[in-house]
Each structure stands twice: as structure tokens, then as C-alpha cells.
């Protein structure tokens, strides 16, 4: 399949096939690929580039799963670096920000699969956060966690989601998808839900009116064809439900885990994956360059390779930093805006559901950007 033929299909708005996707991954000219992905990005969003004000809560890293790429999980309470937050400790993370007048709009909550906590721990976690700030958007629990609760607490997936939504759940993050291909999943994360089960959780959530995100972990042992297969399965579900908001390619970080002998994807591979994702996933509106794992510089460059979203201020990210990410724990809104403007893009502050909170003049700094403290955006190497 020639690049010109694929470009013609893209410009005509035709969905690309498996073979097209594979050909794009093997296309030698990164600039050509990036330019085509950028065409689609600009057709969908112009120069607009989204971010939000959010923070993360990882309430526990105790996890019964033993995914080989994970540096975050600990098998049981009491293991070195294992932790499980008391609920007031988790709530205080929001309360302290509310007290400080920080205008956060979203909390991203992802946890280990803890085998010793009651289901009420999670519902109370959500309800307590909503009591502190009813307008906060709770994007919580990956499909892997939902599926685990379904198995552990003997409820249907729908019942799990219904009870969590009643406690305050607003949407689901996209984590845990890893790579759907059974060959890879069997080797890197055999003891959690499989690809079909992951998709079923999202299908159920979409049917219930919950919006969700989707991800793909790349850079371990998967082939380019397995990445294409993964994306096409997401695209098929999106055709069915329309419930995905954002696709987030997640680069494997090879530190402190069982796959540390692998080199991890290079920056050019990151850009290529973003570009192919934008071209294949024509029906998923947003593509997020998650700066925590890409690094700020690569994430900024990805804004020209298909991405239209930089995630948010984040704060207290643990999962990627325990895997060796050298990015800071947070970026201020001013820093994010500066990165976007420097890329020649137009910053748009959004909420989790992509409603616009501010854009244009309202976001442009009143005075030249000055970083507080001596912290670098990332360690150079």
C-alpha cells in the first residue's frame, strides 16, 4: 500500500485498513507521516490544544496483579514502598487544594488491585471527595479495576459501575488496555482482564452514559501490527458506542520493573505512534500527548504529529515516576500554556468532558513567563 494511496484515503475521510496502518508504521519518512497526521489534526481541531487543571490520587499501590512492565505495584501491605491511604488522607489532597483556592476541575484516580479492601472503601473515597467539592469531576478506576471489583465483590460490571456512579464517579480513565493481542498480554500481564473484557467494561460504561478514555501501552514486546490491531479494536468499539473521548498512547518506561532489559521507545518512535494513531482513529476526537511519560519536549513536538491535548497539571503522579520518568511532578498552567504557545498552537483550558473553560486572550500570560524555583522541565538524558 503506497503512502500516496493512504493519503488519498485520509483526505477523502475513508477509514484506514489494517494493512494501511501497518504500512504507516513502516513508512520511512517521518516528516511525511507527521504532515499527514497534522492535516487530520488541524482539520479536526485547527490550532486548538487542550489542557486541564487536574491532580492524581493513587490511593494504594498494593496489587495482586504482576504486570511485568509495572514499577508501581507492591504485592501486599507491608512490602517495601507499599502503601494504602487512609480515606481522610486521600480526601485531604483535595481539601488542601480547595483551601488554597486552586481551581482544579478533575481528579484522576487509579489504584492497584488491592485484595484486602472492602468495596465501600472506593465508594466512600468518591463520596468524600464529592462532599468536599461537589463540582469536581472524578475520572476514576480503569477497566481493569472495575473488572477486578466485579470478580472480587461478586457484582456484575454494570452493578459495580452503577454503585460507583452513585457515589460520585463521573467517567473512566483509559488505563489497563496495554496491548490487546493475546500473545503479548499473556507474556506481560497475564493475570488481569483480557482485551475483550477490557472492551466490555468500556462498552457497558458507554451504554450507561459514562464517557471514557482509551490507551495503548507500546514499546515492550509488541509488533507494529499488534499496535494496529489494538487501535482498530478501539475504533470498532467507538463505531458502536461513540463513548471514547481521547486516545492516549503510553510509552513503556523501562526502569525498576521486570522488563528493564528492554530499551523503551525512542522519541522518533513516539512521534510515529502518535501520527499513526491520529490517522487510524478518525472517530476518536482527541489524541493526548501525556507529557508525564513522553517528556515535555517530545509532548510539545507531538502537538504537530497528531496530538491535540497535553493532559493537565497532573501533580503527584506516581505510576510513571516509579518507572523512571524524569519529568516533574507537576506543570503549572502557565508552563503548559507557554509550551503550547511556543509550539505555535492555541491553548484551550477544558474540563474533563472537553467543555471549554477558557481560551484566547483570557489564557495568555499578563507578564513574561517566569518559572518559580530552579526545577527543570526534565532531566536532559
Amino acid at each position: 500500500m503506497s503512502f500516496a494511496t493512504i493519503a488519498t484515503k485520509v483526505r477523502a475521510g475513508e477509514p484506514l485498513s489494517f494493512d494501511d496502518g501497518a504500512a504507516l508504521f513502516h513508512h520511512p519518512n517521518l516528516m511525511e507521516l507527521g504532515a499527514l497526521a497534522n492535516e487530520v489534526r488541524e482539520r479536526m481541531h485547527g490550532a486548538r490544544t487542550y489542557f486541564n487543571r487536574n491532580f492524581h490520587i493513587n490511593a494504594t499501590n498494593v496489587c495482586v496483579a504482576s504486570c511485568m512492565f509495572c514499577s508501581f505495584a507492591r504485592l501486599k501491605d507491608g512490602d517495601a514502598d507499599a502503601y494504602t491511604m487512609k480515606l481522610p488522607e486521600a480526601w485531604d489532597k483535595l481539601q488542601s487544594r480547595v483551601d488554597a483556592g486552586e481551581p482544579v476541575t478533575e481528579i484522576h484516580i487509579v489504584n492497584g488491585l488491592h485484595d484486602g479492601l472492602p468495596f465501600e472503601y472506593y465508594t466512600e473515597l468518591l463520596a468524600g471527595l464529592k462532599r468536599i467539592k461537589p463540582s469536581i469531576h472524578l475520572k476514576a478506576f480503569t477497566a481493569v479495576e472495575i473488572f477486578y471489583y466485579h470478580q472480587k465483590y461478586g457484582m456484575t460490571v454494570e452493578e459495580v459501575l452503577r454503585r460507583l456512579a452513585a457515589a460520585g464517579l463521573d467517567s473512566l480513565p483509559g488505563g489497563g488496555a496495554e496491548i490487546f493481542a493475546p500473545r503479548v498480554r499473556q507474556r506481560i500481564c497475564a493475570d488481569k482482564c483480557n482485551g475483550d473484557e477490557w472492551l466490555d467494561v468500556h462498552r457497558t460504561a458507554h451504554r450507561m452514559g459514562l464517557r471514557t478514555n482509551c490507551t495503548m501501552l507500546y514499546g515492550t514486546i509488541e509488533t507494529p501490527e499488534e499496535r494496529v490491531d489494538h487501535m482498530l479494536r478501539l475504533r470498532a468499539l467507538q463505531d458502536e458506542t461513540g463513548g471514547f473521548q481521547t486516545f492516549i498512547p503510553l510509552a513503556f518506561h523501562p526502569e525498576n520493573n521486570a522488563l528493564m532489559k528492554l530499551p523503551g521507545p525512542t522519541a522518533v518512535e513516539d512521534l510515529r505512534t502518535y501520527a499513526v494513531a491520529r490517522l487510524l482513529l478518525h472517530n476518536i476526537p482527541h489524541l493526548k500527548a501525556y507529557w508525564v511519560m513522553l517528556g515535555v519536549k517530545t509532548a510539545q513536538t507531538a502537538l504537530w504529529f497528531g496530538a491535540d491535548d497535553l493532559d493537565g497539571t497532573v501533580q503527584e503522579e506516581k505510576i510513571y515516576h516509579m518507572a523512571g520518568a524524569e519529568t516533574p511532578q507537576t506543570l503549572s498552567p502557565d508552563e503548559i500554556i507557554r509550551v503550547i504557545v511556543n509550539a505555535g498552537r492555541a491553548p484551550v483550558e477544558r474540563d474533563t468532558l472537553y467543555n471549554v473553560i477558557a481560551e484566547g486572550e483570557a489564557l495568555l500570560p499578563k507578564q513574561p513567563f517566569r518559572r518559580t524555583g530552579r526545577r527543570a522541565l526534565e532531566v536532559v538524558s
Binding site: 507527521g34 504532515a35 511556543n342
Partner: protein, 261 residues
């Protein structure tokens, strides 16, 4: 001399229009002032780099003469050099040459001229800051253009960030250097300053040489060594190959050897 970027049609629909080069081998205005589209700029720079070197990216095991007179780098290095900032403390350029330095990494025309007179090669650092105004950047480029106009031979131009660089800003600047200075054979990415990821991306924007510590074997990046930017030969070759280019090591005497996959 015509700039190959301006004279040849580019792949894809976008084409860089207009003459960008002057007889001196450099353009009169920063390219990024006239070419907004990142991909037009990138493809033009990439094409110019391929025209200059056929898609090869060179790295060299180098040894640096420090201001203390000590050396840093492997004894069997293929290249020895001194940074301009270290020259005075090392006793001047002739003393550095006598000590074994064969290349100057320069930022001023006086020392570059002196290096040429001593038979030393010269690599030129063009400094930039993420917050630079267009005027400041134009000034830095014109400074080098003026040096070239005197007939000074520069083997490579190395964009060098002052402070922490931003991604796209850096890539545009690399493309700019490639397209402006067609008489300079190499555009060099200092991976110790840029980081491996940004250095690799710069290879798609006109860079064709990696500068930084290449070691036979490196310690694990743990603890105090976590920020060590050194690459092994294999890592350097993988970085280049993953960018779709052909890695090549410069050996003693300037001999280039392709790195087998």
C-alpha cells in the same frame, strides 16, 4: 552556491519557495521567519542533510582537554578537542594543540581563526535560548555568517541551548542552521545538553552528527549516575537507526565506518 533545499522539489505537496541562499552560503533572513510550516521546514532541512551526507549520521569517540590540563574520555579516542572556555586556562590554543587537542569547539571568530592557523579543525556553537527574540536569534546566526564570509572553514555547527530548551523551538533552530549554512558540512546535536530524545528528533530536522560522550561500556543510570548522558556505541547506533538513518562511526584519521545492525 544554491541551497539544495530551495532548488529541489520536496516530497509531498508542500514546497519551500524562493531562493534562500546567498553566494556566501547562508541566507539573509532566518528561514523560520519565512517558513511557518514545521513540516516544510523539516523536510527541506532533511533533504538538505541527505544531499550533504546521504542519510548517514556520524558519532565519534572523543576525548576532551579540560582547563586543568587533564583529559576526559577514552585513551583510544578518534578525536581530541578543547572547548573555547577552557583554552585560556589550558595555556592558550598553541599549548592545547601541543598537548594533543586537534579540534576547537569555538564561539568566537578570533580563536576560530587561530585554530585554523594552527591546523586545527573547528566546530562552532550557536547559542540560543528558549525565550530568545527573533532579533537575538538572527544576531547569533549572522555572527556565524560573518565568520564564514571571511573564508573561515567550520567543520560543524552545533546549536547549543542556554538554559533548558523547548522541543519545537530547538527543532526549528536545527532546521534553520542546516538550511542557512550550506557551506558547513555538519549540523551537530550535542546530546549531553539536549538529551537523547531531543537529539534524536533533531536528526529529522537536519542534524547529521551526534556530539557527546560515547563510551565502551557505561555504568547503570542509578543514583548519582542517573543523569549521565553517555551512550555506548550500540546505543548511539540504535538511536540513529530508530530515526530511520544510517549510523556511522568516525574513526582515527576521519575514516567513516558504517555501524552494522
Amino acid at each position: 552556491m544554491m541551497n539544495p533545499a530551495s532548488s529541489a522539489a520536496l516530497p509531498g505537496s508542500a514546497t519551500l519557495q524562493g531562493p534562500l541562499a546567498t553566494p556566501g552560503g547562508h541566507t539573509t533572513a532566518p528561514v523560520s521567519e519565512t517558513v511557518d510550516d514545521l513540516f516544510v521546514l523539516g523536510r527541506a532541512a532533511q533533504q538538505a542533510a541527505r544531499h550533504a551526507n546521504g542519510g548517514r549520521v556520524v558519532f565519534t569517540r572523543a576525548r576532551q582537554l579540560l582547563q586543568s590540563g587533564a583529559w576526559r574520555g577514552p585513551r583510544d579516542a578518534a578525536l581530541t578537542y578543547i572547548e573555547e572556555a577552557d583554552v585560556a586556562a589550558a595555556g592558550g590554543l598553541p599549548a592545547a594543540r601541543d598537548a594533543g587537542a586537534r579540534m576547537l569547539v569555538a564561539t568566537s571568530p578570533e580563536l576560530a581563526r587561530q585554530a585554523a592557523a594552527l591546523g586545527m579543525d573547528c566546530l562552532w556553537r550557536v547559542r540560543y535560548r528558549a525565550s530568545n527574540s527573533t532579533l537575538a536569534r538572527r544576531h547569533a546566526l549572522e555572527h556565524l555568517a560573518a565568520v564564514l564570509a571571511t573564508g573561515q572553514v567550520i567543520q560543524g555547527v552545533m546549536p547549543t541551548p542556554d538554559g533548558e530548551p523547548l522541543g519545537l523551538d530547538t527543532l526549528r533552530f536545527f532546521a534553520e542552521c542546516r538550511l542557512r549554512f550550506t557551506s558547513i558540512p555538519h549540523v551537530v546535536a550535542d546530546f549531553a545538553l539536549l538529551g537523547h530524545r531531543l537529539a534524536q528528533m533533531s536528526l529529522a530536522f537536519g542534524a547529521d552528527e551526534l556530539h557527546g560522550p560515547i563510551v565502551a561500556e557505561r555504568a547503570l543510570r542509578l543514583g548519582a549516575n542517573a543523569g549521565n548522558p553517555a551512550l555506548t556505541r550500540k546505543e548511539a547506533a540504535l538511536l540513529v537507526r530508530a530515526a530511520g538513518l544510517n549510523p556511522c562511526e568516525r574513526l582515527s584519521g576521519g575514516v567513516l565506518e558504517d555501524c552494522a545492525p
